[in-house]
C-alpha cells in the first residue's frame, strides 16, 4: 500500500462522482415507475406517451452521465 496523495485524491474523487450515477438511477426509475402507474390506470393513452417517456428518461439520465464523465476524467485524464 504505497502511492502518492494525488492518486488517493483522484480515486476518492472518482468514487464520490460515481454517487451521481446512483442519483440518476433513482431519477430514471421515478420516471419509468410513474409512467407505468399512469399507463396502468389508462392503458389506451399510454402508447401515445412513450415518446415523452423516453425524453424524460434521457433528461434524467444525462445528468448521471455527466457525473460518470467526471469520474472518468478524474481516473484517466487528470
Amino acid at each position: 500500500m504505497e502511492g502518492n496523495i494525488a492518486d488517493l485524491g483522484q480515486f476518492i474523487g472518482a468514487g464520490l462522482a460515481a454517487i451521481g450515477s446512483g442519483a440518476a438511477a433513482i431519477g430514471v426509475g421515478h420516471v419509468a415507475g410513474n409512467f407505468l402507474s399512469g399507463a396502468l390506470r389508462n392503458p389506451s393513452a399510454a402508447a401515445s406517451q412513450t415518446a415523452t417517456l423516453f425524453i424524460g428518461i434521457a433528461f434524467a439520465e444525462a445528468l448521471g452521465i455527466f457525473s460518470f464523465l467526471v469520474a472518468l476524467l478524474l481516473m484517466f485524464a487528470v
Binding site: D7, S48, A51, F54, I55, I57, A58, E61, A62, I65, F66, F68, L69, L72, M75, F76
Partner: protein, 252 residues
C-alpha cells in the same frame, strides 16, 4: 492514463479500446499530411457504406413483396416519418432528410461498434459534438429565419407572471445553450460507459473462479448494449425533433 502495475493479478484496460491510431505507418501521428486515415475514419466510412447498402442496394428492386432488407429500410423510413409527424408536426416533415440521416447514422454507427474488435465512433465526443452542435446551429438559424425576432419569445415565457419572467428568461437561456452539450455528451457517454463496462466484465474473466459468471455478465451487458444503442439513436433523433418544434413554434 494510469501506469499498469506489473505484479497485479487483475489488469483492466477498459479505455484502451477508444484510442485513435493511424491505420498505416508505425502508429505515430505526423502532421506533414493534411489527412491521416485512422481507425475512426475507417469505421465512419464503414457506417456510410452500410447505410448505402441498406437504403440503396436492398431497395433498388422495389419489390411489391419486400425482401428482408427492403422491409428493414421501409420500416425505418416509416418509423422516423411518424416520429417527426408526432413530435414536430406537419411542418417538420420538410426536414425529414436531415433527421433521417442523423437517425440512420447514429443507429448504424452504434450497432457497428458492437461488433467485437471494432471501433465505436459514437463513443468519441469529437464525433457526437459535431452532430449535436450541428443540430443546435441548424435549429437556431432556422428559428430566426422562420420567425424573425419573434424566435426570442422562446425565452420570454408569456404564460408566467410578469415579475417572474426575467428570471425565467435567464433559466431558459442557460438551458438553451446547454442543449448541444448535453445532446452530444449523452450519446458519447452512454456508448463509452457501455463499452467500458463490457471490457471490465471481460477483465473479470481472467480469474478462473469467477470466469463463468463474468462471461454470463458479458452476455447480459451485451444484450443491454444492443438495447441502449437503439434507444440512444432514438433519443437523439426525438430530441432533435423537439428542438425543431421549438424553432418552428417558439411560443409556449
Amino acid at each position: 492514463m494510469a501506469d499498469p502495475k506489473q505484479d497485479a493479478s487483475l489488469t483492466f484496460y477498459p479505455m484502451d479500446q477508444f484510442i485513435v491510431h493511424p491505420l498505416f505507418g508505425d502508429g505515430s501521428i505526423t502532421l506533414s499530411s493534411w489527412y491521416i486515415p485512422t481507425n475512426v475514419t475507417l469505421w465512419l466510412l464503414l457506417t456510410v457504406v452500410a447505410i448505402i447498402f441498406l437504403m440503396v442496394v436492398t431497395t433498388s428492386k422495389r419489390a411489391l413483396i419486400p425482401t428482408r432488407g427492403q422491409s428493414i429500410a421501409e420500416l425505418t423510413y416509416g418509423f422516423v416519418y411518424k416520429m417527426i409527424e408526432d413530435v414536430a408536426g406537419r411542418e417538420g416533415i420538410r426536414y425529414f432528410p436531415y433527421i433521417m440521416t442523423l437517425f440512420l447514422f447514429i443507429l448504424v454507427a452504434n450497432f457497428l461498434g458492437l461488433i467485437p474488435m471494432s471501433f465505436t465512433t459514437t463513443s468519441h465526443i469529437a464525433v457526437t459534438a459535431v452532430l449535436g452542435f450541428g443540430v443546435f446551429f441548424v435549429v437556431t438559424i432556422l428559428g430566426f429565419v422562420k420567425n424573425g425576432m419573434a424566435f426570442l419569445g422562446l425565452f420570454w415565457v408569456a404564460a408566467a407572471p410578469l415579475p417572474l419572467r426575467p428570471i425565467l428568461a435567464i433559466i431558459e437561456l442557460i438551458s438553451y445553450f446547454v442543449r448541444p452539450v448535453s445532446h452530444s455528451i449523452r450519446l458519447a457517454g452512454n456508448m463509452m460507459a457501455g463499452h467500458a463496462v463490457l471490457k471490465v466484465f471481460a477483465g473479470f474473466a481472467q480469474v478462473t473462479a469467477i470466469a463463468p459468471i463474468a462471461i454470463l455478465g458479458v452476455m447480459a451487458v451485451y444484450g443491454l448494449e444492443v438495447l441502449v444503442s437503439a434507444i440512444q439513436a432514438y433519443v437523439f433523433t426525438i430530441l432533435t425533433c423537439v428542438y425543431l418544434k421549438d424553432a418552428l413554434h417558439p411560443h409556449h
